[in-house]
């Protein structure tokens, strides 16, 4: 799924990395627990969906090479978060929708669940 499609489905423009609309993600992973994100077996082509907005969310994505994050429930990143995301080439999209709705609409349009260690 292209970032352009995610943008249209969520009705939200990327805040950072605005020229990444033609890049693609295959898998989605939703969590407010960063250790769960760090425990992902593979983070290639993963979109992180989270309601946790702080610097450690960006750091976690950096550590796992996750390039795309959707922040749900209308949270707005402060300048420090935006700057760290830019430094790491991360694309941030914010939506006012809930995590459940966001996951549902992305899943029903083809985004697969990320692989996890079981």
């Amino acid at each position: 799924m292209k970032i352009r499609e995610i943008k249209e489905l969520l009705g939200s423009e990327p805040i950072t990395c605005v020229d990444c609309l033609d890049e693609e993600v295959t898998y989605g992973f939703a969590s407010d627990l960063m250790s769960d994100v760090l425990a992902l077996s593979s983070s290639n082509h993963v979109l992180l969906i989270t309601g946790l907005m702080n610097l450690q969310t960006i750091r976690t994505a950096e550590m796992k090479d996750i390039k795309f994050i959707v922040f749900v429930r209308g949270k707005v990143p402060d300048e420090g978060i935006i700057e760290l995301a830019r430094e790491n080439g991360l694309c941030i999209i914010c939506t006012k929708e809930s995590m459940f709705w966001t996951c549902g609409v992305l899943f029903s349009n083809g985004l697969q669940g990320a692989k996890i260690n079981k």
Binding site: D32, S35, L52, N54, T57, R59, D65
Partner: protein, 147 residues
């Protein structure tokens, strides 16, 4: 094991500093990328390093992170000045956590830190005593693959 040390990086980690927490691991990642280390190995090192660094921020009175590169492996050392782990076996249990509400608000304290470190290391050693310091040594070899 080959004991010729190629590079050593050292970072002091402050207790409770969620703003700078993660910077050491970020710097370690950049250094490994510049050295051309395999990407899958970098990811494993990053997860182990970041979890250990955040553990120092959350649980300790302060400490340091060190990364040493040898010809055949990378060693990460996370050491703090206390207050120590009373029951290491319990601390290794998935889901067990003594993290504060503040740590949980930052997205941590799910009881996955040490298990995540173990998953991503070839060798893990934890030395700790209640009321004393804790030192975690993590070894990741270049020629081993984690299943």
């Amino acid at each position: 094991m080959i004991d010729k040390e190629i590079l050593k990086l050292h970072y002091d980690i402050a207790s409770g500093d969620y703003i700078k927490g993660g910077e050491a691991s970020s710097n370690i990642k950049r250094a490994l990328m510049q050295l051309g280390v395999d990407n899958d190995i970098i990811k494993r090192i990053c997860v182990a390093s970041y979890e250990a660094e955040i553990n120092i921020v959350i649980h300790s009175l302060g400490g340091y992170m060190e990364m040493k590169i040898f010809e055949d492996r990378i060693e990460l050392i996370a050491s703090d000045i206390g207050p120590g782990i009373s029951d290491i076996e319990l601390a290794m249990t998935v889901g067990y956590s003594t993290a504060t509400q503040g740590a949980r608000e930052m997205g941590f304290g799910a009881g996955m830190g040490l298990p995540n470190i173990k998953t991503n290391c070839d060798e893990l050693d934890i030395q700790s005593s209640e009321g004393g310091s804790t030192t975690i040594t993590m070894k990741i070899y270049f020629n081993k693959v984690v299943s």
